[in-house]
């Protein structure tokens, strides 16, 4: 495992992302990752809030049109996330919290897909009250998005050691 991580970390792409002294490489990737998080998690939470009855006059069926924007944010974050992972593979892959974060993202996306199928893909959507089970799913969805954000943010404070010898902040 360590030699594999070292192989990536010593590679040209990893070194390029990590060490190019301009805000247009590493900081730009990190910024894209943050914007994608805001759109995906925030948009997901907004849709959950609508399901829970906040903004009750908001038509449900057209909300399906917003999903491609959320998927775009997911793709942006997958790509920017992989680039960040290539830059600091040891830092992420040796931290158990990183795997918790990945699991939470998978869960959040699965719940989002389920809500889409159960509510927004249903042609009878506007004529039927939202079911109890779907409301519960929306609450779970919000909880998972919040936990995902927390896990991602706390990655910055929980890693202990990097292969390149940069000391941890805390």
């Amino acid at each position: 495992m360590d030699s594999f991580l070292a192989f990536i970390e010593n590679g040209a792409l990893s070194t390029f992302i990590r060490e190019t002294p301009t805000i247009f490489v590493f900081p730009a990737i990190l910024t894209l990752h943050t914007i994608g998080m805001g759109v995906l998690a925030g948009g997901g939470i907004a849709i959950d809030l609508r399901i829970l009855g906040f903004a009750p006059k908001m038509a449900l069926a057209p909300i399906g049109r917003f999903f491609p924007v959320l998927w775009l944010a997911l793709v942006v974050n997958a790509i920017s996330g992989i680039l960040l992972l290539i830059a600091y593979p040891t830092k992420a892959l040796t931290n158990p919290l990183f795997y918790v974060k990945l699991l939470l993202i998978a869960l959040a996306v699965a719940v989002l897909l389920r809500l889409k199928r159960r509510i927004f893909d249903d042609p009878r959507i506007e004529r039927m009250p939202i079911e109890r089970g779907d409301r519960r799913l929306a609450v779970i969805s919000i909880a998972i998005w919040l936990a995902t954000i927390a896990a991602g943010r706390l990655l910055a404070y929980t890693y202990r050691w990097e292969m390149l010898g940069i000391p941890a902040i805390t």
Binding site: M37, G38, G42, G44, I45, A46
Partner: protein, 123 residues
Amino acid sequence: MDMEPWEVWVRSTDLHFFVLRHPWMWPLCETIHYIGLSLLLGTVGLFDLRALGMAKGIAPYAIHRLIRWGIAGYALNIITGIVFFFGYPEQYAYNDAFYFKAAFMGIAGSTSWPSTEPAPSAW
């Protein structure tokens, strides 16, 4: 170089010492800050997309009801932002990016202030 009077004051406040003495304070506030960011970007973002013509079946005044959650996120971020500034003022006060961010947040905030909801008839 002597510290400016404002920085001397910031570094003498209870909040400054609280942030320094409690190592969990920074990660906690960062987490809340990112949640606030997501609430703001998610709710205002969907409203803006609607204003740009996406999902035309939604009445703008109806989706505008979600903006209050974005304003709540904005408020969380001002509070946690103050915590960051008082904890480590040197990270912000001598950083041009901080002033750009503050200016952009001022502009972004002013677009929904006062936060009156548009009447249905206005659309």
